[in-house]
């Protein structure tokens, strides 16, 4: 097993493509997405029950080497600042296969 950083980002459904673009531009090709997620945050409740996809969230998780983590976080931070959402970083062990 190999230590990695597990970065979780929760943000507007409609900003998902922007995050994926950033990850791709940083050469990160491994990530997992849960498209339909609801929640609540600084910008109030996002119930996800409307016809428009504006008021729901998406979840992205990527496991990356420690040295890549800082780079990703820096690239994502301005997006979160502008559009809202959160980003958590935690430690994990990658099962090598």
């Amino acid at each position: 097993m190999q230590p990695v950083k597990r970065i979780e980002i929760i943000l507007d459904f409609q900003d998902l493509a922007k995050i994926v673009k950033i990850l791709n531009s940083l050469g990160i090709s491994g990530y997992t997405v849960i498209r339909d997620v609801t929640g609540s945050g600084d910008r109030g409740l996002r119930p996800g029950d409307e016809l428009t996809d504006v008021f729901k969230n998406s979840y992205i998780m990527t496991a990356c080497p420690e040295e890549k983590m800082q780079e990703i976080v820096e690239a994502i931070r301005p997006l979160l600042k502008r559009f809202g959402g959160i980003c958590l970083v935690s430690d994990a062990q990658w099962v090598i296969h």
């Binding site: 507007d12 109030g44 409307e50 016809l51 428009t52 008021f55 301005p78 600042k81 502008r82």
Partner: protein, 337 residues
């Protein structure tokens, strides 16, 4: 006023299912329409109304009547956001970003309101032109663009902006291409317009007949199911209205009434038929809750959606389909008979 018209509308299945949805929330029932279904039904309604409008336009052809209706639609969707913006900022002392978002909301239109109105006319056997669907599609976007322009015109430049506006596009200025995409190519405008064009092309042929069972016969039933869901969602948003306050709640009923009067005058002036006039009035009186939030989110990012969404979804929409529809029609009948 034609009271029987109001009662008749009140007791029609689509409206009753809307009430049933609201009731489910009030009695804490666990009734819940899966979201993919609700989304499908809205796509279905847009496709149905678009295709049938296009097919009818193919029969009637492009006439002077059509051109004036388009002109009137364009005119109203420019006037409404501007005058409401000034009411909001001057009379109601609202901050610019929220005023601009609400102005865009009331300048744009609600396809579901329109769709409910067509079902109402069909029941009363009042004919209307397929080009009114084109008017619906035409009226979704301009108010949004005007709302954004008003916002940018009346907002002092943000001093922090320069530090943010670095190379990274995520920080940068408003992306006009993104706004255009959200305002003009959003799913609902795109599907209505696309279906309208397909109806125009294939209308009259055997294709039209074959699509009738799906696109026409199911329409009323799907509308009932859809309004059941709208009732659930509208009732859930009702409690957000406390934040909006009494003056905005009044706004959400008065502005539709004013717009309806303006639209009645315009419709009379250009000599619309009764059915077309009702649809035109409904469009002007209606407020958007699908296209506007999508576009406003990026273009007027500081606008508070828990103001403009419940206003249009939980007040204006129910008001228009329950009270407005028969009210506007009975008023129109006074001038059209």
């Amino acid at each position: 006023m034609d009271a029987s018209l109001i009662i008749n509308n009140f007791l029609s299945p689509p409206i009753l299912f809307f009430f049933l949805g609201m009731l489910a929330i009030f009695v804490h029932s666990d009734l819940d329409i899966p979201q993919p279904l609700a989304k499908f039904f809205s796509l279905y309604l847009l496709m149905s109304i678009g295709y049938r409008g296009g097919a009818e336009l193919a029969h009637s052809g492009m006439t002077w009547e059509v051109a004036t209706a388009m002109g009137a639609a364009m005119l109203m969707s420019v006037i409404v956001p501007i005058y409401t913006f000034f009411i909001l900022t001057r009379q109601l002392k609202m901050v610019v970003h929220d005023a601009a978002a609400i102005a865009a909301t009331y300048g744009s239109v609600s396809a579901v309101t329109f769709v409910t109105a067509t079902a109402f006319l069909q029941k009363l056997e009042i004919p209307f032109g397929g080009h009114m669907v084109a008017a619906l599609a035409l009226m979704e976007s301009p108010a949004i663009i005007i709302g954004v322009l008003l916002y940018r015109l009346f907002t002092a430049r943000n001093p922090n902006k320069d530090t943010l506006a670095d190379q990274n596009p995520a920080n940068g200025e408003l992306s006009w291409s993104e706004l255009m995409r959200d305002a003009v190519f959003n799913a609902s405008v795109f599907l209505i317009l696309g279906s309208l064009v397909i109806g125009l092309i294939s209308g009259g042929g055997p294709g039209e007949k074959a699509l009738e069972p799906f696109l026409k016969d199911l329409f009323r039933g799907v509308l009932c199911f859809f309004l059941l869901d709208m009732g659930l969602v509208a009732a859930r948003r009702l409690k957000d209205l406390r934040k909006a306050g009494a003056s905005l709640a009044a706004f959400a009923i008065l502005i539709p009434l004013i717009n309806a009067i303006l639209a009645t005058a315009v419709a009379k002036m250009i000599g619309m038929s009764l059915g077309d006039a009702l649809l035109f009035v409904m469009l002007c009186a209606s407020a958007s809750y699908i296209a506007v939030p999508a576009a406003v989110r990026l273009s007027i990012p500081d606008a508070n959606p828990s103001l403009y969404v419940p206003m249009s979804l939980a007040i204006t929409f129910p008001f228009n389909i329950i009270v407005g529809l028969p009210l506007y029609l009975s008023t129109l009948k006074l001038f059209w008979s």
